[in-house]
Amino acid sequence: MSADTEVQPIVKMCGITIAFPGVLALDGVEFRLLPGEVHSLMGENGAGKSTLIKALTGVYSLDSGTITVAGRERRFEATADAQAAGISTVYQEVNLCANLSVGENVMLGHEKRKYGAIDWRATYAEAEKHLAGLGLEIDSRAQLARNSIAIQQLVAIARAMVLDAKVLILDEPTSSLDRGEVEQLFGVIRDLRDTGVAILFVSHFLEQVYEISDRITVLRNGKLVGEHVAKDFPKDALVAEMIGRELDDLAAISDRADRAIDRSGTPVLKATGIGKRGVLSPADLEVYKGEVVGFAGLLGSGRTELVRLLYGADRSETGEIQIDGKSVRIHTPRHAIDHGIALSSEDRRAEGVVADLTVAENMILGIQARRGWLHPISKTEKDAVVKEYMSALGVRPANPNVPIGNLSGGNQQKVLLARWLATAPELLMLDEPTRGIDVGAKADIQRKVAELSEKGLSVIFVSSELEEVLRIAQRVLVLRDRRAIGEIESHSVDLDGLVDYIANSEEVSVMR
């Protein structure tokens, strides 16, 4: 499939501008989508990808600019308008109704009717036809919730087919899928493309983008940077366009992290056979003083599950945890905190920030919880903590009395980091601390982790960005399919080696 520019675009967006309070989310962006192509929209978080998609699907209204679909200029007031124009979207978090059956989700609002009443037999037959078209043979009358996320994603695509979509938008569809499921999804995408559907694909995974895309459009800071034919556009050029600056800062961090750890003494944390049925096979782990241990593996590999078990956020069924050589019981987060373990969760919004409380209150929440409500933190003490971390981490805006919900993702993350550092933990577990935050904040956080570990703090660092893990950790625990499959010294391996290990290593081994 060549991206022939002679072909009339199915979607043409011109001069799209959308402003939010204080932010120009999109600034005169041009975008076009051809029939029968897979077009990836790339950019760092905050580049304007979601905003562009939401403009195209009628969720946001435009401040200026035009959208032309199939030669006609359109104004979308609601999602229904965009769907009527042939634009359907499958979101990352699968926007279907889990309480309804698979078939109903496919057909909702388009059920077959006879004498004014829904003809369920015909409706399910139609649903099954569309599901089968995607190679799905599942019980269409079973509840949607009983199927995996991957299946649900395909069900959402089947729904788009019922709507006779000419344009299909896939927003981060692969982030919770395993390798086999991604292959299945890509098969479906290619089939659809070959029937002439235009597909707009958004993903963080570069390999997947190159595997599936015909063309790539890059956004940065709400502006269009470039539109390229994928096969003529090398990866490093893409990354350069996305980031827009060289990452000298990050290279420096790597140098700092590359130091020897004394592993002769008692480990700060020693977990033996820690696991839970259906969640994680029993895993072993040791973390020494001042060491950064990275967890590498895909989403769903068990990396988040392991930190949650260690923290008592979920209760482990097997195994033993020793802190400083002493066996301890960790069944709730409280137990973990009492033993000097802290966890910054991967889901910042749902499990991290307390949005309506101020930055200062969020910072002291950890210490306050530890002390109990009867021993309030005095104003002097609070001011001291807040002042220390506001400047040490460079939180912006520098006003501790605004609600944390008003801060950008990166700054929220810094506040959460402060919350845990203030409790003076021995072991800090950071699950995806740099997800969805801008490059500057990312570097700040990595630098802070390197600095703290040099001073003796032990850290578990979980990230889906393998480069980041290799840069910051001395040792990497590799997980796959809810199992710890091995450990690697990070200086002994490069990125390709690590990817290969995650993908291919069969036996459980310890490479030292």
């Binding site: 999602t79 109704c97 309480n99 309804l100 909702l108 004014g116 009443a117 919730a145």
Partner: protein, 338 residues
């Protein structure tokens, strides 16, 4: 999840059947439980008293609770969207006293009945608009409806007004069916249940009600008309309130502004006992009917025992608790499966 499904299908047929069954009908379980309790109550009472399941008692079960059944139908629509309507009892009182007063002032019943229904629907519309367009929580919006209905009932009349209109008298006339009997009020209640069930199951509107209860956000992104659906469920509930006002006035032969105090709680309780989840997305109109029968049976048993009627609410409260705990267990299990 998909892997366990596959294994189940590869094993015996029985396992497949069970898996298919739970996959499809798990949401029916609470309603089955309600039916079981109803049967147990009826059988137990018959064994204990020996003269419980008489045609007279069974017929009275329907007629005494006809208004409750109509209210429960409307409430089911609202609760399935994850909303709540506290106004139904006072809307019933308002439309009842309004109808009685209009009839007393000589207005023909053919005009009065539609006025009662429209008055109920209008309060429902007000609640729906507050909920949908002004982001007011259903609890608060329908609380305003509760105050409004009750106050308006007293504005119409501070005292009871007798109704002797032939049409309303006819509505409570008993029609013998063998040893059993029924009255038009009962027939209307049953029709309301049937229509409610058909709308919920066989119309796109009904399915959208379920979808909104499952996930309002998703439903909107799926391009369905969430706003209209949410306003409509409150209008339906208000309409049912108006109809219940008519039935109660016909049944008691009078309009009374103090009718239906606390009825909203009874209605919510019977809907929950009938298997509707208060978190929305699951529930059945027919289940709510069963819930009404459970409620009515408990009331009858207590008057049979000559005990204080206050026991009714204690027992309904306890039953409600048991159901909610069971539902909670079911929901948390199905969430684990996800």
């Amino acid at each position: 999840m998909s892997t366990t499904d596959t294994t189940a299908r590869q094993s015996t047929d029985v396992a497949t059947t069970i898996s298919t069954f739970t996959g499809r009908y798990v949401s029916l379980l609470p309603t089955f439980a309600a039916i079981t309790i109803l049967i147990a109550l009826l059988v137990g009472a018959e064994l204990y008293f020996g003269n419980f399941l008489t045609p007279r008692n069974v017929s009275a079960l329907l007629l005494d609770n006809a208004y409750l059944m109509v209210l429960a139908v409307g409430m089911t629509f609202v609760i399935v969207t994850a909303g709540i309507d506290l106004s139904v009892g006072s809307v019933m009182a308002f439309t009842g006293i309004l109808g009685a007063s209009l009839i007393a002032s000589g207005i023909p019943v053919i005009i009065v009945i539609p006025v009662m229904l429209v008055a109920g629907a209008a309060i429902g519309l007000l609640i729906g608009v507050l909920v949908q367009y002004f982001n007011v929580q259903p609890f608060i919006a329908s609380l305003a409806g509760l105050f409004l209905g009750r106050g308006l009932a007293y504005v119409v009349s501070l005292n009871s007004i007798r109704v002797e209109d032939p049409v309303l008298v006819w509505m409570r006339t008993r029609i013998p069916l063998g040893d059993f009997y029924i009255a038009p009020t009962g027939i209307i209640a049953i029709f309301t249940v049937i229509i409610g069930a058909l709308v919920m199951h066989f119309t796109r509107f009904g399915r959208t009600v379920y979808a909104v209860g499952g996930s309002e956000q998703s439903t909107r992104l799926m391009g369905l008309n969430v706003a209209r659906t949410k306003v409509m469920v409150y209008v339906i509930s208000g309409l049912c309130g108006g109809l219940a006002g008519l039935l109660l006035t016909a049944y008691t032969g009078a309009g009374y502004p103090r009718n239906g105090i606390g009825t909203e709680l009874d209605v919510i309780a019977v809907v929950v006992i009938g298997g509707t989840l208060l978190t929305g997305g699951r529930g059945y109109v027919l289940g709510s009917m069963i819930g009404v029968f459970v409620f009515g049976t408990i009331k009858t048993i207590i008057s049979f025992m000559g005990a204080e009627q206050s026991w009714t609410h204690i027992i309904v409260g306890v039953l409600l608790l048991v159901f909610v705990v069971v539902q909670r267990a079911i929901v948390s299990r199905s969430q684990q499966k996800e």
